[in-house]
Amino acid sequence: MKRIPVTILTGFLGSGKTTLLNRILSEQHGKRIAVIENEFGEIGIDQALIINADEEIFEMSNGCICCTVRGDLIRVLGNLMKRRDKFDYVVVETTGMADPGPVAQTFFMDDEIRAEFSLDGIITLVDARHIPQQLGRSKESTEQIAFADVLVLNKTDLVTPEELDEIEARVRGMNRMAKIYRAKRAAVPVEVVLGLEAFDLETALVKKPTFLEPEYPFEWTGVYALEAGRYEVSLADGPDPTMSLVAIVDQGCDDIDLRGGAERCVRNWSEPPLELAPGARIPCGRHVRLKLETQGRKSFVLEVERAASVGLFTQHTAAEFDLAVAPVGRAGAGRPLPPKCERTWVAQHEHDDQVGSVGIELVGDIDGEKLNAWIGRLLRERGSDIFRMKGFISIAGDPRRFVFQGVHMLFDGQPDRPWGDSPRRNQLVFIGRNLDRAAMTREFAACRV
C-alpha cells in the first residue's frame, strides 16, 4: 500500500512560506494537495483542501522514551486518511517560531499515522537578508535549519553574491545533509520540494551520494560559452605549486545546474588526479592536477569539439591564480573571455554556531550488540541535542545493509537490500548541537568486530 507523502514547510515569519505554498498549489501538476496550516492564510486554491489546525504539542511516551508530538496532526491526518483516494500529498505548514521536532516525531510515534503517511521531507525557507541576525537570536531558527532536508535560501536579490556565499557556507556548516537552493520570491521548482523521499534513506542516497562530504573540494566554478576549437587556460603564480581542476561540458548556469555539476565533480574528484605539466591538454570530465612550480604564467590547452558551455571547477578561486581562458589561432586570440557565470564555493569557516554535522565513514563490519549499546547510550544522553541522523551500517554476519534514521531520540532502522558486490562500509551522519566529532568517531570505530 502506497503511503501518502507529507512535506513539512518551516521557516521564520517573512521567509516566504506562504509564497512558496502558493507556488506549489497553483502550479499545474495535477496533484490534489491537502494543506494543514496553523495560522489562517489567504490561500484557497481549487485543487487544494486547506485545513486549519491548532498547534497542540504534547509529551508522549511509548514505554521507553518520551518525546513531544503534535496532537492536532494526529487527529487531522486520522480524518484525512479516511479519504485517501482524494489526496496525493499533504503539506504541513508550521508557524514561524515552531520547532520542527514535534511534527517530525509525530510520524514516528503514532502507529496509525505511520501506517498511512510517510514523512517525505522537511523544507526550511531561509530569509537570506535576515538569517544572520536570526541565527544569533533564536534557537528555533537554528533548529529549523538543522532539521531540513531542503534549505531554500530565499530573497537572494536582497543580499550581495558574497554575502549569499557566506550564508550558504554557514548553513552548510550546520547541516551537511540538506540540499540547498537559492531563490528569489521563493521561486524553486515544485519537484525540489515535493516528492523528495528524503526520509527514505535509500532514495535519498541515490539522489545525493555525497551527503557525507564535509565540503566541496573546489572553491570556484566559472562557466564559459565556447565555440568549437582550441583554447588556452593560463594561470599566473599563485599560493600553491599545484591546483586540481575538473572541466565539465554542458554546464548550465542556474543554481540547480551548478549544484548538479558540483555533485558530479565531487565524484570525479574522488579519483586520483592526472598530473599535467604546462602545455598539456586538459581532458573534460577528469580530475587533473596542474603543475605550477615554474615561475611566470603557465598555459594549458583546452579543446572543444562543438560549441558548448564548459564549466571549470577549480581547487582555488580564479582570482588567486589570475586564471584566464582565451581562444587560440583565430579572431580574439589571446584575449581572455569573461565567464558566462561564476560561483565561489566558500569553504566552511569556523562559526560559533553550536549546531553542526558530524559525518562518519568507516570500512569494516560492526558488532550489532556494541552498536545497540552505543546508539542507545548516545540517544539517552544526547537525544535532545541530536536533531537528525541517517546512515547505513555493515552489521557483521548480515548479508544486508542496515539502514537507519532518526529524529531526536526516535530511532528507526531495519535491514534493507543485500550488499552484493558493493564494498561493505559504514556511513553515518548526525546533525546536532555541540556534537563531539572526535568522540563519536572513536566510539563508533570501537563498535567494529
Binding site: 491548532d54 497542540e56 504534547f58 509529551e59 511509548n62 480524518n79 479516511k82 479519504r83
Partner: protein, 360 residues
C-alpha cells in the same frame, strides 16, 4: 492480509445482506426502532437502509461541505444529528431523510456529537469548546475553552456531560453548566466510555494505555502495556466487562469482585492487525470485534473476561464500525471501502427457541 481467510461467515454468523456507500463508512447506528440502519460516509453522504433487506430507504449526499465527521441518533430513534468539517451540526428526520435544522457552531471541525440518554440535549464539540443544544436545536450552554481540543464526549446520566481532552476529563451539570468534577492525568486522551451506572470512566490514551477513574471513590488506575493506542473501548450492559483494543488482541478487564486492579485480563487473540471497533451485544456478554485486517469476530465472554470466538467473517477492508441490532440478533459492519454488511447472529443455546420452530 489476515490469518483468517474465510469467505463465508462461520459459527453463529449467517449472511443477511450487504450494501455500499460512496466513501469510507465512518459512522452508523440503528434507528426507527430497529427497522433501519443509518450509515454516514466521509465524503458527506448519509444513507438509510432497511434493516431486514438492506434496501435503500433514502440517501443524502454532500450534507457537510468538506466532509462529515460524526453522527448521533436520538433515543426517539427518529432524529439524526450530523456534524462535519464545515463547522455545522444538522438535524434530520430519519423517516424521510429531510433536513430539520442547521446549527452553525464555529469555524472549525465539529468532531464529536452525543445525545443525552433521554434525548433532551445534544452535545457537540468543536476545537476546544463544547456546546449543548435542546432537542429543538436551541443552544442551552457553551463551555469555557478547554486546554486543548476536545477528543471525546459522554453523557454519564441525563444531566451530566463528560468531556475528555489532553490531560483531563471534566464533568458538567447541564443545563446550568457548572463544573461537577474533574479528573486529571497527564496524557492525551483519545477515547472515552463509561460504565452503564456512570461510576467508571475509562479513557484510551495516545501513549498506549487505558486510564480509568471511579467517581464514587475518586480512585484511578492505569492499565498499560498496549501495543498501540486504545481507540476502541466498550463496556457490556452489566458493567462487568471493559473490552479494549490497542493492538491485535482484545484485552478484556473484569470489574467483577475487586477487579480489575491486580487481575489478569482476558486476551482474545485472532486478529492479525490492530483492533478498530468493539461493541457488546445488548444485555449480553457477546462481544463483536473488528480490525484493520477486515475480520469481524464474535466472542462469547465469561465474567472473568476470558472467552472464545463463536463467529468469524472476513471482509475486504478495515472494519470502521460494528452495530448490534437492539434485539442482539443481527450485526452490521461498516468498512473502510464503504461496505455495509449485515448478518443474522444465532442466539446462544440457552436462549434458543424450542426445537421445531425456525429462528427468524
Amino acid at each position: 492480509m489476515s490469518g483468517v481467510t474465510i469467505k463465508e461467515p462461520q459459527g453463529v454468523l449467517r449472511s443477511r445482506w450487504s450494501a455500499s456507500v460512496d466513501d469510507y463508512a465512518i459512522a452508523g447506528g440503528w434507528a426507527l426502532r430497529g427497522d433501519a440502519i443509518v450509515v454516514a460516509d466521509s465524503a458527506g453522504g448519509v444513507h438509510a437502509f432497511d434493516g431486514t433487506t438492506g434496501r435503500s430507504r433514502w440517501s443524502r449526499r454532500d450534507t457537510h461541505p468538506g466532509g462529515l465527521l460524526a453522527i448521533a441518533i436520538r433515543s426517539d430513534t427518529v432524529t439524526l444529528a450530523t456534524a462535519g468539517q464545515d463547522g455545522c451540526v444538522r438535524l434530520w428526520s430519519i423517516e424521510d431523510g429531510e433536513p430539520r435544522r442547521s446549527l452553525p457552531i464555529a469555524d472549525g471541525w465539529v468532531e464529536r456529537l452525543e445525545w443525552s440518554p433521554n434525548g433532551d440535549y445534544l452535545a457537540a464539540s468543536c476545537r476546544r469548546e463544547v456546546r449543548v443544544f435542546s432537542a429543538a436545536g436551541e443552544e442551552v450552554w457553551r463551555s469555557p475553552p478547554h486546554p486543548s481540543t476536545v477528543s471525546a464526549l459522554q453523557w454519564l446520566d441525563p444531566r451530566t456531560l463528560a468531556s475528555a481532552c489532553y490531560g483531563r476529563v471534566t464533568m458538567f451539570r447541564i443545563p446550568n453548566g457548572s463544573e461537577a468534577r474533574r479528573f486529571e492525568w497527564k496524557g492525551s486522551l483519545v477515547s472515552m466510555v463509561h460504565s452503564p451506572d456512570g461510576d467508571v470512566i475509562a479513557c484510551g490514551s495516545q501513549d498506549n494505555s487505558v486510564h480509568f477513574w471511579r467517581r464514587t471513590t475518586g480512585k484511578d488506575s492505569m492499565m498499560s502495556g498496549y501495543e498501540g493506542k486504545p481507540a476502541a473501548l466498550a463496556f457490556d450492559d452489566s458493567g462487568t466487562l471493559l473490552a479494549t483494543g490497542g493492538g491485535v488482541a482484545v484485552t478484556v478487564w473484569s470489574f467483577a469482585g475487586r477487579g480489575p486492579e491486580g487481575t489478569r485480563p482476558g486476551e482474545l487473540e485472532m486478529h492479525v492487525l490492530p483492533i478498530m471497533s468493539l461493541t457488546f451485544a445488548p444485555r449480553s456478554m457477546r462481544l463483536a470485534s473488528g480490525a484493520r485486517d477486515g475480520a469481524v469476530v464474535v466472542w462469547a465472554l465469561e465474567k472473568s473476561g476470558r472467552g472464545k470466538p463463536i463467529g468469524v467473517v472476513q471482509l475486504q477492508h478495515a472494519i470502521a464500525g460494528l452495530h448490534w441490532h437492539p434485539d442482539g440478533e443481527a450485526l452490521v459492519a461498516l468498512d473502510a471501502g464503504g461496505g455495509v454488511v449485515a448478518w443474522r447472529v444465532e442466539a446462544p443455546p440457552a436462549a434458543r427457541r424450542p426445537a421445531g420452530k425456525t429462528p427468524r
